[in-house]
Amino acid sequence: MTGAPVHQFLQQLFTGLATGAIYASLALALVMIYRATELVNFAQGEMAMFSTYIAWTLTNAGIPFWVAFALTLAASFLGGVAIERLIIRPVQNAPVFTAVTVFIGLLLILNSVAGWLYTYTVQDFPSPFGDRPLLHSLLTTSALGIMGVTLAMLVLLYLFFRFTPIGLAMRAAAQNPVSARLCGIRVGRMLAIGWGLAAAVGATAGVMVAPILFLDPNMMTGTLLYAFAGALLGGISSPLGAVIGGIAVGVMENLVGTYLIASQLKLTVALAVILLVLVLRPNGLFGATLVKRV
């Protein structure tokens, strides 16, 4: 099917960039929550999966895709706020085991509620961008669309955090909750908004990845693992790092899968990346070195 090796390489590179953009979104959602609360959200993938089912339900009800997408983002935002308020806040300062266990509980609940509502049958999720080849079939419209949406989202988020008062307040609340509170910022509310935003960013990742992976309650586990790998590679405290790390992991996954290892071992590759980064360079490429007071 493919001609020259160069052509195949470029093709895999572009596919990798598109999946990398999806990993980057999910990684960014993880980093947003980590920066605000120092918690690692193991349920981020399942939250995104649930959002994707909402989008699927809405489009199936005949609502045009982009309207359904906007509604999904809004619903995910509210869902994220609700999860923070009801489930996460009580364990905010709990020991690690408790926090991890609560996230796993959330993961299991979201997964099984989705299975309950929508069954475990794999569903088709048509790409909003079609699947036409572009540039001598180097990439497809869907890959281009994924990259475009991700880029737009990143720019919007950057503008939001950089130039709006509420974005500034959120950064302050994440960086130094005590001082922020003394300045009159409602830290609790900022955390809730942060969770809502992270849920919406994750929802984007879910809706973008669904046409590739198809829709089923377990669709996000692998994606989440790659997002973790990306976030750690970039440094879990750095949003820019998460985006670069996510894209790098996506490209690497495709190239490794094509040239080196059978693709059945995808998750093992993710495990290896996570382990190597954590052991060799725990702060990632762009993360700040953590100094701990004892």
């Binding site: 690692v40 299991l108 309950w116 586990t221 382990l275």
Partner: protein, 361 residues
């Protein structure tokens, strides 16, 4: 401090007597009675229930391993299904390929899981809290893939079928009864080893590392050695449980060793109480029976119940069933003359293992 908390399963001092017997003799008598009941059970209940209890005991062995690691040593593992799989496949491959008798596969399963646990424990030394959870979660996810990939050994997707052991004639036991008693012996041995490991110097070192790794090493505890040892020992328990499950079920396949298995271990451990020995038994029963019951409602119900159980436990009873009941029973037994020898508040500390160590200084 609350340091020795995890290991002091019998908080009442030996001098105290209840109805003329010291607390430790009471405990010994209770243990003997429980073992007698456990031996009698397969002769009183049907085949299927015997089989279910056998599986619950197997889970309890794996949970004991997880408790040792997460509860006593504070290293979180979301991937103990992987070590369980190592044990199961070790037993299955040895039995099927080399015709090794079933009982001889258990020590190698323990050894190989121990070795892999130690190998995994080395990088784990550099990971703390959520990162270790993340790596072990990835391990749980990758296990079925790896099992399918090495299909020359593991039989790939189809797995390996085994012939279940036949009880010797002179025993006059049914197969399920025989397997039950076999697992019961392994269970008692595992708990004996586990309780002894945790009661002495090693147990205190493990708890000290959990409570405060820096002061533990300042007191001369070789934290790296104990942490890798804990990982290895914990994996060995899981591996033995896995081997037993392969022998009892007579079948292994990659799908049985996925994320859900590892997460059920987490659930069982949390339900029973992560920093307890006896909690592993509660957890084993929970993990065996609750999904069976829940499956009748819907195939999504077990996951939902697991998830709800985790949330409710973490909010309401973070120390699990054994962690909750144990100290209260002890206090109840001690009530008549508690004032003299026990400072108030001791029991409360015993019950608060899971919420002691704050995330931030």
């Amino acid at each position: 401090m609350a340091g020795g908390v995890g290991i002091s399963t019998g908080p009442a001092p030996a001098s105290e007597r209840i109805a003329g017997l010291s607390a430790s003799s009471w405990r010994r008598a209770g243990l003997a009675a429980a073992i007698l009941v456990a031996i009698a059970l397969p002769f009183l209940i049907g085949k299927y229930h015997t089989f279910e209890l056998t599986l619950a005991m197997i889970y309890a062995v794996a949970l004991l391993g997880l408790n040792l690691l997460s509860g006593y040593n504070g290293q979180i593992s979301l991937g103990h299904g992987a070590f369980y799989a190592v044990g199961a496949y070790t037993a299955a491959i040895m039995m099927q390929r080399w015709g090794v008798p079933y009982w001889a596969t258990i020590p190698p399963a323990a050894l190989i899981s121990f070795a892999i646990g130690v190998l995994f424990g080395l990088p784990a030394l550099r990971l703390e809290g959520p990162y270790l959870a993340l790596v072990t979660l990835a391990m749980a996810l990758a296990t079925p893939q790896l099992l399918k990939y090495f299909d020359g050994w593991t039989g790939g997707q189809q797995g390996i079928n085994l012939t279940k052991p036949v009880p010797p004639h002179w025993l006059g036991l049914g197969r399920d009864q025989f397997l039950y008693l076999l697992v019961l012996i392994v269970l008692i041995a595992a708990f004996w080893v586990g309780a002894n490991l945790l009661r002495g110097r090693t147990g205190r070192a493990l708890v000290a590392i959990r409570e405060n790794p820096i002061s533990a090493s300042a007191m001369g505890i070789d934290t790296a050695r104990y942490k890798t040892l804990a990982f290895g020992a914990s994996a060995a328990f899981a591996g033995v449980a896995g081997a037993m499950s392969a022998i009892v079920v007579g079948f292994v396949a990659p799908e049985g060793f996925g994320l859900l298995l590892s997460l059920s271990f987490l659930v069982g451990s949390a339900v029973g109480g992560i920093a307890t020995v006896s909690g592993a038994l509660f957890g084993g029963l929970f993990v065996e029976y609750v999904p069976n019951i829940a499956n009748d409602i819907s195939d999504a119900a077990p996951g939902a119940i697991y998830g709800l159980a985790l949330l409710m436990l973490m909010f309401a009873m973070p120390v699990g069933v054994a962690g909750y009941i144990g100290p209260r029973l002890a206090r109840l037994a001690r009530r008549p003359r508690a004032s003299a020898s026990n400072p108030p508040g001791e029991s409360k500390q015993i019950g608060s293992i899971a919420i002691q160590e704050g995330r931030k200084p």
